[in-house]
Structures are given as C-alpha cells and as structure tokens.
C-alpha cells in the first residue's frame, strides 16, 4: 500500500505532499487539482515501468506541458512511500524532462534505514547484489529500475517495483470507450479509459464471472448474465442479459449490447470488474458519475472493503454520507489551491470547522454545509501556525 506521495513540479503540484490510506477520497472545488493528483500518481507508475513516452501519447500530452508554470525548475521530484508486509520503503527520484529519465534515484527500507538501490552521477548501485558503482552505459527512460534485469534485483526491490507498476488511474474512464468492442489482450486490465472492458471480462474465470454477475445483480436485479462473445474478426462483444416478466411468455429475456447499456451500469461493471485485475492501486475520477443515488451506498461499501488500495475523487455528498465517521476522518482529503496557485492537501476532518460539523452531520452533509475555500484558508492558517 502506498502511504505517502510527494511530487514537485508536476502541473499545479508544487512541493505537494499527500498521505494515503487504503481508501482515500479526494474532495475539492473544480480546478483545485484533484484529477492532477491522480494523473501524477499514474505518471509515477509510468516512470517505474519505463513507459513515459507511451503514457504521454495515451493522454495526448507533450513532455513540455508536464512541469508547473509556477516554478522554473526543469526536473520533477517524486517520493513514494510504500508499506509492504509491515515494512516501509521509500523511493525518491528526480526525473529530468529533457532526458525523460530519472537522473537520480534512491530506494531504501525505512525500518532500518538501509539502502537498496541508487542512481547518481551516471552510475547506479544495487546495494545487495552489486554494491559498487556501476556506470550506466545504456539508454533508458523513466526509472533505471525499469531496465535492469529482474534477476539482478532483490526481492524487496522487485516487490516495490511490481506494486508501483500495478497502479492505474482510470481518470479517463468513459462510457464511450467502455462500449467499444475490444480485441483479446494479455494486459489483464480494462485500460485507462475502459476500452478493454469486454476483453477483460471475456478472460475472467467462471467463478469470477459468476461473482461479477451476482454483484451486478445486487444493483440491477433484472440482470441475469453478462455475455462476452469472440467474433470471427477477433473482436470481443459484450452483452448484458436481462429478464423481465412477460404476459405472453411468462419470462422474457432481453439481450442488451454494450453500445446500448446505460452509462451507470457500464461504469459500475468496470469498477466491479477491477477486483479481478492484477492491479493493486486503483484511481477513479468522480466515481459517482452516472451512478444513481440508490446504488451509491453499495459502491462505497465495495470500495471501502476492497482488498486493493483505492483512491477516488468525488463531488458527491451522498457518497461521503455513506462512509462511517471513522473512515471519513481517515480517508477524506481536501485538495485546494493556495493563494500562489499551488495545489495542497489536508485531511478534511482535521480542520476544526469541518470536524465541528461532523459532530452533528454525516460526512457528506458536513462537506456540503461548509465553504471549501474557507476550510482551505483555515487549514492554511493552521499550517502557518
């Protein structure tokens, strides 16, 4: 589980520090930088996998547009702290935009302050297997860890790397992409925008498939099955089978092709299907979009109980209302812009005025009953003091 994320010089994130829990919910006004936080985490993951260029391409972004207009620095600094089986690790990297690579890196165990890996001055060290300095004589993008043969990396390094790569931001999740037919893929996830949903569901094991149908039925009782069909052309088509009482036939089955399934059900299906992906950290932007309020409680319960680390952004008071106070106190983070334009984060219910509201209101109503900009100012005064 990622416990801390620090990034400097990524869009509006300047000297930005965020503590993360197993479930984290980012709230804040439009333009505060919530989605940017998700993108930045996804970017950190892309650096670790060495797929920076591909990542930029997918988003149709230019490397030049990554850095913040608020500073003149050229490099992007990232710190990720992760808890793996009660041990804490810290990866610290300086990403050079011009070279598209980390020119400085440190990975270490925080429990005993031991170093595991380092990059500095054109050379690298693997403290357990190759403790001396090794010159970097090859081209690479992102983290140098993406290029080193796994068998040279210690178990701890491999585990850290694997977990960071198994992070995906679904901030581009859209009904339009979810409706697409997709080709079989060995990637094992639904894709950044959900474009691989049909192929992903197609490769689920039958018990997973049945469980997915069962879960979907708790939201939409009329659903009796989800069918995926491999078409001759290699595309996978997704259909939902619904059942309705019929005067003529007793019961009537209706097959609904993905392109006609309602937005909310598709998004819910995508969110539910993620439990079977090999991904470990999942990021959803505006999780409540398209989902009717009646289903929100179950969505919250599913997210909080998920074995994966989940980070969501939301504007929905109802979504927050269905969190227990304990979950809300721990997981709701207010993202706001400071007077200088930099995005900042604070634990929402640690701010006294929000905490005071929580005494009488459920968490979402408390969020709605305060002015978020005033809470942000209060948090700033608190920091300054």
């Amino acid at each position: 589980m990622i416990t801390r994320f620090y990034i400097d010089n990524f869009k509006s994130l300047v000297n930005f520090d965020l503590e993360l829990s197993k479930f984290t919910c980012l709230i804040g006004l439009n333009g505060a930088g919530k989605s940017t936080v998700l993108q930045a985490l996804d970017f950190a993951s892309a650096i670790m996998s060495g797929e920076v260029e591909k990542w930029l391409e997918k988003r149709n972004w230019n490397i030049k547009s990554l850095n913040s207009n608020l500073t003149n620095r050229n490099t992007i600094k990232i710190i990720i702290e992760m808890e793996i089986v009660s041990k804490h690790y810290r990866w610290h990297a300086i990403f050079n935009r011009a070279k598209q690579q980390c020119t400085w890196e440190r990975l270490g165990c925080m429990n005993d302050n031991s170093a595991l890996f380092g990059v500095d001055d054109g050379s690298y060290r693997l403290y357990q297997s190759m403790p001396h300095q090794n010159p970097i004589l090859f081209q690479y993008t992102g983290s140098l860890l993406s290029q080193i043969k796994p068998d040279l990396l210690s178990d701890e390094i491999q585990e850290f790397k694997k977990r960071l790569i198994a992070l995906r931001s679904l901030d581009l999740l859209s009904p339009h992409l979810l409706r697409q037919k997709s080709r079989k893929s060995d990637k094992g996830d639904i894709g950044m925008g959900g474009e691989q949903l049909s192929a992903f569901i197609h490769q689920l094991k039958s018990d997973q498939h049945n469980e997915l149908v069962r879960q979907l039925r708790t939201y939409y009782p009329q659903v009796i099955d989800i069918k995926t069909t491999a078409l001759r052309s290699g595309w996978i088509q997704l259909e939902v089978i619904e059942e309705y009482p019929s005067i003529r036939y007793g019961v009537q089955e209706i097959r609904v092709e993905a392109k006609h399934i309602n937005d909310g059900m598709l998004r819910l299906l995508a969110i539910l299907a993620q439990q079977y992906s090999p991904l470990e950290t999942l990021l959803f932007d505006e999780i409540e979009n398209g989902i009717n309020p009646e289903a929100i409680e179950k969505v919250v319960d599913a997210l909080v109980a998920s074995p994966k680390q989940i980070i969501v952004t939301t504007h929905s008071p109802m979504l927050l209302n269905y969190m227990t106070d304990e979950v809300a106190k721990e997981s709701v983070m207010l993202i706001y812009k400071r007077a200088d334009g930099a995005t900042h984060a604070t634990r929402f219910f640690d701010v006294p005025s929000a905490a005071h509201k929580l005494e009488s209101l459920p968490p979402g109503s408390a969020m709605l009953d305060v002015y978020l900009d005033q809470v942000a100012q209060e948090a700033e005064r608190h920091h300054a003091a």
């Binding site: 309020p293 409680e297 008071p317 109802m318 209302n321 269905y322 106070d325 509201k357 005494e359 009488s360 209101l361 459920p362 979402g364 109503s365 709605l368 009953d369 305060v370 002015y371």
Partner: protein
C-alpha cells in the same frame, strides 16, 4: 392544552443543565437556565387562564431538557438526504437537523411544544431562525416548534430590563451589541455585568434576574418574533391565546 415542552440550548446559562448526568432530564433532575425560565414566563403570559392554571409555578415540572450532544447524535442518522438548498442555507444544516430531532422527540414523548435555543452570534439572524423553523416544518411540528434566537445573544434581552432606562429603545441593542464576547466594547456579557453592576454574575443570578423581568415590556425584534411564535403555538394547542 399545554402541559409539557421540551427545550434544548447551547449551555447551562441558557436552557439549563441536568443534575443526573443524563442527556435528557426533567423535574427535580433539571435545573432550568435563564432563557428557559424567560420562555416559560412568556408562555404563561399568553396562555389562556384555564391552561395556565394547570401549569404549576415550578417550570422544571413541565420542561424536559435535552443536551445538544443527544441532538447531534440523532442528527447524524439520516444519511440519505442532503438538505442544503434554497430553504436551508449552506452552513445551517446542523440547526435544521437539530430542530428535526428535537421535534421528533417532542412528538414521540407527548411534549406539546419544542424550543430550540441558539444565539445569533455572528450569523445572519433570519437565516438561522429560518433553518430552525424549516427543521420543525420538516418534522411536521412547525406551529409548535419555537426557534428561540436572540440577537445577538440572550444577554441582549436581559440588558433590556436592567439598563439605565429599562425597556426603552431596546431594539437598538440588537445592532449595538456585538455577537462576539471577545469584542471588549460591545460584548453582551460584559455590558450586562456593567448595567447590572455585577460583573461576576453567575447562572443563578441570571435566573433571579428573569424573575424580575417584565416580558410584556421587552420590545426587540428578535424577542417579538419569539412572542409571535409562542402565540401561534398556543393558538394551535388551545384554540386561543391571551394578548
């Protein structure tokens, strides 16, 4: 007929305090505060004789007191609804929900009126009062639910009766006094102590003061509004009220 009413306030000097370590108390276990006594006096003033004869002079026998902590707990229960909107202005949902909870208690426990006290302080008086009334309305207890909202604080009502020219031009006090007790010049508590020549007054002193006040002569918009609400409640319960 009015026999019992339930009250909730901010602190022990306004609606009162329980002597039995409970969240809800009445009778001997309840020590009414100055605002509760003032309200009781105001109600008796307007009750028809046949009803006020049935009320003993001992307010605690007819009043049930609920701590705000209990209301807070009740308020949190409704997660399905979000009430902030045109009727309940952002920032005031807490008072709306407290009023709902108080009214629900009144309805379930055979209390004929419910009174929710909160100083205006630095809020907008109308918005606060309307949010409380909206809560009573939502619980279908609007006529019998009293929003007791002095402006800026309850001391303003007391000052009206003890200042140099008692009961004269009291409406001005609402504008003159500050809703903030830290404002040295216009702090209601300090001003009351000054007028009364008793800067260190305590809870009991306030209760004794209420004994001497003439509720018919307090002429302040926030108090008059309470008086109007009391009259409506009495008419709802008794079919008539004394002017």
């Amino acid at each position: 007929m009015l026999h019992k009413l339930v009250v909730a306030g901010e602190g022990e000097t306004d609606m009162g305090v329980c002597a039995n370590q409970q969240w809800i108390c009445t009778g001997q276990d309840f020590a009414p505060g100055a605002v509760a006594l003032l309200l009781f006096k105001l109600i008796r003033q307007h009750l028809p004789d046949w009803n006020s004869d049935n009320l003993t002079a001992e307010p605690a026998a007819h009043l049930t007191f609920i701590y705000r902590a209990w209301l807070k707990e009740q308020s949190k229960a409704n997660k399905r609804q979000v009430f902030v909107g045109k009727q309940v202005v952002k920032g005031f949902e807490v008072y709306f929900r407290h009023a709902v909870a108080l009214a629900e208690y009144a309805k379930q426990h055979d209390q004929q009126m419910a009174a929710y006290f909160h100083d205006t302080d630095k809020h907008d008086w109308q918005t606060l009062r309307d949010a409380i009334k909206a809560g009573f309305r939502a619980a279908e207890f609007e006529q019998q639910g009293l929003a007791v909202v002095p402006k800026p604080t309850s001391e303003a009502w007391f000052i009206c009766g003890v200042k140099a020219n008692p009961y004269q031009h009291c409406a001005q006090l609402e504008a003159e006094l500050s809703g903030n007790d830290r404002s040295p010049e216009r702090a209601p508590k300090a001003r009351l102590g000054e007028c009364w020549d008793n800067p260190d007054y305590n809870r009991q002193d306030l209760c004794d003061l209420v004994e001497t006040l003439d509720v018919t002569r307090i002429d302040m918009p926030s108090f008059n509004n309470l008086r109007d609400q009391v009259k409506i409640a009495i008419i709802t319960l008794c079919g008539e009220c004394r002017d």
